[in-house]
């Protein structure tokens, strides 16, 4: 598991290095807006469901996605908690377990939606299913481990698989999401599109 962790971290460092070292493409057109504010808006206001149809028109999926991703971050946090043998207390762990059960359930719903809708099936590749299954399984096994320590070998297998798979497929979006939103904010900020301007009357 530790070797897998090192491999995964190494891959993250490699991708981060590429993103940072390649930087942003030079813009020769005269700047018309505030790029810093636009990048901030890209991560805040632009993500607000009222500004984004992908969220406002799909609130159940959007909510399930948010819970699923929060569960992913929580399970990663707990991975390090377990790794460094930190004891946050059983009461807190029970709350975490409950949330991970909920996020795991969200992951299953998202997976079922992907399998059920023909449009989504057409858009999906094996990586989409594998990534979801690995992350959902990791969240659920983390939740179970809190109550059943004897599941530790299964937990190690799940964590190892997830860490090894990370560099291969879409899980990399954990890094590229931030890079994409940064670039989008930069692009719209340079042209004065974002943050949106007030409309005069």
């Amino acid at each position: 598991m530790l070797a897998a962790l090192l491999l995964c971290l190494g891959s993250c460092v490699y991708h981060l290095y590429r993103i940072i070292s390649m930087g942003a493409a030079p813009e020769y057109a005269r700047k018309a807006g505030n790029t810093a504010m636009a990048v901030r808006y890209s991560f805040t206001g632009a993500m607000n469901p009222k500004n984004k149809e992908s969220a406002s028109l799909h609130l159940p999926t959007y909510t399930a996605g948010l819970i699923f991703h929060a569960g992913t971050f929580l399970s990663i946090l707990l991975f390090f908690v377990f790794l460094f043998d930190i004891n946050p207390g059983m009461a807190l762990l029970r709350v975490f377990a409950f949330f991970l059960a909920l996020s795991g359930f969200s992951g299953i719903l998202i997976l079922l939606k992907r399998m059920a809708k023909s449009e989504l099936r057409s858009l999906s590749n094996p990586d989409d299913y594998i990534s979801n299954i690995l992350v959902t399984a990791f969240q659920l096994i983390t939740a179970l481990l809190i109550f059943y320590p004897q599941l530790y070998p299964a937990y190690c297998i799940s964590a190892t698989m997830l860490l090894l798979y990370f560099p291969l497929g879409k899980l990399k979006h954990a890094l590229y999401f931030f890079a994409a939103r940064y670039h989008l904010g930069l692009f719209y900020g340079w042209r004065g599109v974002w943050p949106p301007k007030p409309i005069s009357k």
Binding site: I19, A24, P26, R30, K52, P167, Y176, K197, S200, K201
Partner: protein, 423 residues
């Protein structure tokens, strides 16, 4: 693909999670729901090629991420998805759950196809016309000058001043004003409208007979080399005429192509100012250089925001300011501004007759938007949009008038001699 520098391409090809939530943001999908028109699918055909040749999993296990070889089947899909199923309106960018610049990926895909010679013939012909004749409609210079001469007479009559004129190829003027070749060819009154505005503002301006075309269809075809040639010509004309500022006529993609893309095509910052005529009209009104009276435009007016000007160029406040000042009854479409729906004519669709059925299908969405406003006039600062809206007007029996902003402003102008005769 490697022409794009920086980590922008790397980031966007790796960020999509195939959630499909972008579907409803696309006018093609709204018109005909189905997997084919989901923006994520269009972006993925580009990303899949990237994965095949640039990622470990794509090279070793292409089935895992459905990484595609750039073979005939892929190219056929790319042509239909990237040219035939997208107006490059960029609405999906704003609504993507992750923040993938889908439109950028579409443009990258078009650039790849252009490099390999797969631009649809109809679109390529428009680019070729611009390259070989200097304007995308192939208007001979003599014909253009004749048109300007009768427009000048029209202007003199309109402003009741025998000395009013349309300057041609004058050096050292403040403004070099560009045109969409559709103006001299089909809509000359929009030229005289702008000439009237310049007259009222007392502007120092000129038109060029050598290079007046604001459009750059190579932006749509994806050909960076041809895009550069067209952009360089306008740059050269700015230098030749020693103009201080280039004012881009009401043309969404033309404005975007020269204001935002051309400096990157040519990899240099322009030593002269570049503004759109929309910004200039708003400036004239704000600064009191022209006096306008909204009572002169009594009909209900709505606004169609051109995608390239609005989402692609940040101009969405100015046109509203102008309309509030120049018309009595202005009503917004729903959704407006940054969320406005493409009219269907963008992305080179007006040139690509092979996709007409889809284009006019999308037009139905715009027709519904217009109908709901109850407006008698649709204003839009883009000649491509004007063309598409005129066809929409006929096909969906809307019975509305389509006008440019310059035409609306010109109608609202109160000239000095008018003021005097009223007092």
């Amino acid at each position: 693909m490697k022409r794009e520098v920086g980590s922008k391409l790397l980031s966007h090809v790796n960020a999509c999670v195939h959630c499909g939530l972008c579907a409803e943001s696309c006018v093609y999908y709204k018109f005909r729901p189905g997997e084919h028109f989901v923006p994520g699918k269009k972006a993925d055909v580009v990303s899949s090629v990237y994965r095949r040749y640039n990622t470990l999993s794509g090279r070793m296990f292409p089935w895992l991420t459905r990484a595609r070889k750039l073979d005939d089947a892929t190219i056929e899909d790319m042509v239909d998805l990237l040219y035939g199923s997208c107006t490059m309106c960029g609405r999906c960018n704003k609504h993507c759950s992750v923040g993938v610049d889908i439109e950028f990926l579409i443009r990258t895909g078009r650039a790849m196809l252009a490099e390999m010679g797969y631009v649809p013939e109809t679109l390529q012909k428009t680019v070729d016309a611009a390259i070989t004749t200097g304007n995308n409609m192939g208007i001979p210079t003599r014909e253009f000058i004749d048109t300007l001469q009768w427009l000048e007479e029209d202007l003199q009559y309109e402003v009741n001043d025998d000395k009013a004129f349309i300057p041609i190829n004058e050096k050292g003027r403040n403004i070099l004003y560009t045109l969409n070749p559709r103006e001299p060819k089909f809509f000359p009154l929009s030229i005289s409208a702008m000439a009237k505005v310049f007259y009222a503002a007392g502007e120092s301006w000129t038109l060029s007979t050598e290079m007046y075309d604001v459009t750059n269809y190579a932006y749509f075809s994806g050909s960076l080399d041809e895009g550069r040639i067209i952009a360089q010509r306008l740059c050269d004309e700015m230098h030749r005429l020693e103009a201080k500022k280039c004012i881009l006529a009401e043309c969404g993609h033309g404005s975007r192509a020269f204001r935002w893309e051309a400096p990157n095509y040519l990899q240099k910052e322009f030593p002269f100012g570049v503004d759109t005529s929309v910004e200039l009209l708003a400036e004239y009104i704000r600064e009191g250089r022209i006096i306008v009276d909204p009572e002169k435009n009594q009909e209900v007016v709505t606004l169609h925001d051109p995608c390239n000007l609005t989402r692609g160029g940040g101009i969405y406040e100015e046109q509203r300011y102008i309309l509030h000042k120049c018309v009595k009854n202005f009503v917004e479409m729903n959704p407006p501004g940054l969320d406005n729906l493409c009219c269907g004519g963008g992305g080179g669709q007006l040139s690509m007759s092979e996709y007409n059925e889809r284009r006019m299908g999308i037009a139905g969405l715009k027709a519904e938007q217009i109908k709901k406003t109850g407006a008698a006039v649709v204003a839009t600062p883009c000649h491509n949009c004007v063309d598409q809206l005129i066809q929409t007007n006929a096909a969906y029996k809307l019975n509305v008038k389509i006008k440019t902003l310059a035409e609306i402003v010109a109608d609202a102008i109160v000239l000095e001699n008018e003021e005097k005769s009223n007092t």
